[in-house]
Symmetry: C2
Subunit: 245 residues, 2 copies
Amino acid sequence: MTSFVNRKTIRKYKKEDVPQDKLESLLYQASRAATMGNMQLYSVVVTRSEEMKEKLSPLHFGQPMVKGAPVVLTFCADFNRFTQWCEQRQANPGYDNFLSFINAASDTLLYVQAFCTLAEQAGYGTCYLGTTLYNPQGIIDLLRLPRLTFPVATITLGVPDEDPEQTDRLPHLAYLHSETYRPYTAGEIDIIYYFKEQMDENKHFVEINHKENLAQVFTDCRYTRKDNEAMSAGLLEALKHQGFL
Amino acid sequence: MTSFVNRKTIRKYKKEDVPQDKLESLLYQASRAATMGNMQLYSVVVTRSEEMKEKLSPLHFGQPMVKGAPVVLTFCADFNRFTQWCEQRQANPGYDNFLSFINAASDTLLYVQAFCTLAEQAGYGTCYLGTTLYNPQGIIDLLRLPRLTFPVATITLGVPDEDPEQTDRLPHLAYLHSETYRPYTAGEIDIIYYFKEQMDENKHFVEINHKENLAQVFTDCRYTRKDNEAMSAGLLEALKHQGFL
């Protein structure tokens, strides 16, 4: 069993399958994570077919893990199931609002992390695809997600076929605050990001992108204002479409 | 080491403290969780002082864990630190939008679950307070959270002083879908919630609340439309205030 501090994201998987009973066992174990009012406000759509992976792939911007993994899991915030139960019992559900979306998304993300930890302890590799939120409507349509559900995270899963270096992390004092949030001085910011800026790999990114520094690689290439604002609009639109706004 | 499938929420803690070095070690280990673009879009505010617990308590509706735990941790989505770094490097950050909030909140919630799992493996008990999102502006003001930060989860932490029964969970087939989301038949909904509805504890809740069934306890007493809609408005207002909308 690998210790959590040694974990890494795995993007290449062996052809070996993940047996359905093993997957179901991990998904059930993960449900021990905390959940609001014990409502379990999530669903998981399992993609195994080549046809569906082919269609999911462009929605995740062609990241090779989607077609390369034996299993792709789309974790969805889900107030649909609970609402249907309420309606069948002559109860009046009021979960078509923004707080309910955030509550269900929180439940879902705790469940996702619990699942990943358990899957890794069982010897599998995982990759978290943040792209799920970039084009949610496409995923909603493809997976036929009903009103009051919303895709919040995608995990690709399989037996590791690579052993990459661990990526860096900030010193924990960078994000630790005592009693109240301590504003950062300019000098503290320099120290916090110093190691990241000095890494050869990151210096290389600055060079090939013809930027002055690493921060500009993030703001001008990787996560731009223009993209973020366009995708925010799409995200809010999709939340309306699914009945949460 | 307790297995994850045996975990329980712990609401009563011994007087025993959680040493700061132990806490910091767990917070650092948890940072191995997946994080978008390796940006680590979170901060943690540690509350140990009686004075601050006294002030936090009403913001969490007086739940006794806040004053009863040696440590209260408020986990915040944080694009402030990253934005400050960008600004110091003449980069133009564009993270004052809704997508950036959801991205940072996702990072934070994965981190929270990783932390809880590690803390429990180390023998501590945790309780997840969903109330963080019910009155975020009060928490923002008390903890002096700056623009582009937002409280998303609170964990109370300590050495367990109770050993409660495990709560029930739905059968995993309730939330598992293959290839596309499968609409639930009325009969499936009945089966999914049958065990929960038959529990003595839940029958007791129905009785003392003078309701016809358990679903009505949720919709009329615990999570009402009126409360959800009022708190949704407050949540959106606070997101605007913090620069994310």
